[in-house]
């Protein structure tokens, strides 16, 4: 293995004296991608993170780099998603060069399986409406019939009526992505401070002072990207950030030879052979410890109806993790008006949007203002008076 190892920072690393150009609160995929992008432009960047107790959607997600379905009701989100998918090859190539970690990006198209005529009808209507929205991104999509799906995925089950397909969907390995970003921190001298949660925040003379268990961190720019912590942290920089946990469960099957080259939205094979089955959505508060059999049973049933050969493949793990969902499900990016220089970045698609966060959002934050076309992502959308 030619991957070099860099010793990890001491567990009790403290914020350095002086003033950072920027500090990010949150070391998951959103915070890490933003910090990585900030470091491309700024010299002194710090990341405050919790420890292993963090909810950490970054370690429980499915790893799609996904475009189809996104943006119904907010076409700007569809455009943002598409731009991230297009920037992903650049991010993956940079990470490989800087860290030696191949995050296993594959963008060879993706499928959304349809198991009944009703599902086909509803899906066509949905995709047509989605892509017909004014200002929506444009990409090719097709409704594939059984035979066409079978050409992409040998062995589909008899109930598969078809699938929607786009050439722009893909997958990555989310754990390798998180690891690559953190290795980049060490290589590029980003101060990553684990087990160092942010306490009180105040701003004086254009500098943020963030209290931590190991002293005060000072920074000119502050990014709150702490997932489910954003509600509380947002309030400390004058922003009302309505995010809630939405539980998703995932089933992992043992590693097999790679056979699924085109991923489904709910069934994929990892680069090293494991299979993931997922995409359940439950409102269950912060309960992420107990996967439930009814949901897992439903997930497994749909997977074997899609690909019956999976009946013979063992389940090796299952888990529940918490998505970071805003009130309307779309990302929130905004600069605080009462604390200029402080930003919030939150979404439930930390993998898909990683490239946009690193290569588009971070430069805006470094420059001190979000572009005008980011306005649809501000929390002002939640404050429209009901007619």
């Amino acid at each position: 293995m030619e991957q070099q190892t860099v010793p990890p920072p001491a567990g009790d690393a403290a914020p350095q004296r002086g003033v950072y150009d920027a500090a990010v609160i949150g070391g998951g995929l959103v915070g890490s991608a933003v910090a990585y992008g900030l470091r491309r432009q700024l010299d002194r960047v710090a990341v405050l993170d919790e420890g292993d107790v963090a909810f950490r959607a970054s370690r429980g997600n499915f790893g799609l780099v996904w475009v189809q379905s996104k943006g119904m009701g907010l076409p700007r989100y569809g455009v943002w998603t598409m731009s991230s998918a297009q920037l992903w090859p650049q991010l993956a190539a940079e990470l490989l060069e800087k860290t030696g970690v191949d995050v296993r990006l594959e963008q060879r198209g993706g499928l959304h399986a349809l198991l009944s005529d009703d599902e086909v009808e509803a899906r066509v209507k949905f995709m047509t409406t989605l892509l017909g929205q004014p200002g929506m991104s444009r990409y090719e999509w097709k409704l594939l019939d059984r035979r066409e799906v079978a050409e992409l995925v040998p062995g589909i089950g008899p109930e598969v009526r078809g699938a929607t397909w786009t050439p722009v969907d893909g997958i990555a390995n989310p754990l390798k992505l998180l690891r690559a970003l953190h290795i980049a921190f060490r290589r590029e001298r980003v101060d990553y401070l684990p087990r160092c949660p942010a306490g009180a925040i105040r701003q004086a003379d254009g500098v943020f002072h963030v209290e931590t268990p190991r002293g005060t961190l000072r920074a000119r720019r502050l990014v709150v990207a702490a997932g489910l912590g954003n509600r509380e942290l947002g309030s400390r920089i004058g922003l009302d950030v309505p995010v809630r946990p939405q539980r998703g469960q995932i089933i992992v099957l043992e590693r097999t030879r790679r056979v699924l080259e085109t991923p489904f939205s709910t069934l994929r094979q990892m680069d090293e052979g494991s299979w993931l089955i997922g995409d359940s959505q439950e409102e269950a508060g912060f309960a992420d410890e107990a996967p439930g059999l009814p949901v897992l049973g439903t997930l497994a049933d749909r997977a074997v109806r899609t690909l019956p050969a999976l009946r013979e493949v063992r389940v090796v793990r299952s888990w529940a993790a918490l998505r970071v969902m805003s009130k309307d499900g779309f990302p929130i990016y905004e600069q605080s008006q009462s604390c200029p220089g402080a930003f919030v970045a939150t979404c439930h698609s930390g993998v898909t949007l990683a490239a946009a966060h690193a290569l588009k959002l971070a430069p805006m934050i470094a420059a001190g203002a979000l572009d005008d076309d980011m306005a649809p992502f501000s929390t002002r959308r939640f404050h429209v008076q009901e007619a």
Partner: protein
């Protein structure tokens, strides 16, 4: 599958059990685990790992390390240390990840 030594000593007198390892006959004893039978017949390694395809053999002998995975009677990824030999059992070495045949 740990046993007390006196029980194990009793096994010595029992009828031999014949299994095959990659087609070659191996004689073992009733009550042997597949992993024990592999060791006793000189098969120190029994599989190649899934990703890098380097050899591995039984290690913990108590069901936790999963290094003794073998194909038994056509079923892949069986734990050799947790499976008792049976007359006529077909044991095969695993090379890399198991297959799934759509």
């Amino acid at each position: 599958m740990f046993k007390r030594l006196d029980e194990a000593a009793g096994q010595a007198g029992r009828a031999p059990v014949r299994v095959t390892v990659d087609g070659g006959e191996v004689r073992c004893r009733e009550g042997d685990s597949v992993a024990a039978a592999l060791f006793a017949s000189g098969h120190a390694d029994c599989r190649d790992t899934v990703v890098n395809e380097v050899p591995r053999g039984p290690y913990c002998m108590m069901g936790v390390c999963y290094d003794c995975l073998v194909t038994i009677d056509g079923v892949p990824n069986r734990q050799g240390c947790m499976t008792l030999v049976r007359e006529g059992m077909r044991i095969e070495r695993q090379r890399g990840a198991r297959e799934v045949r759509p």
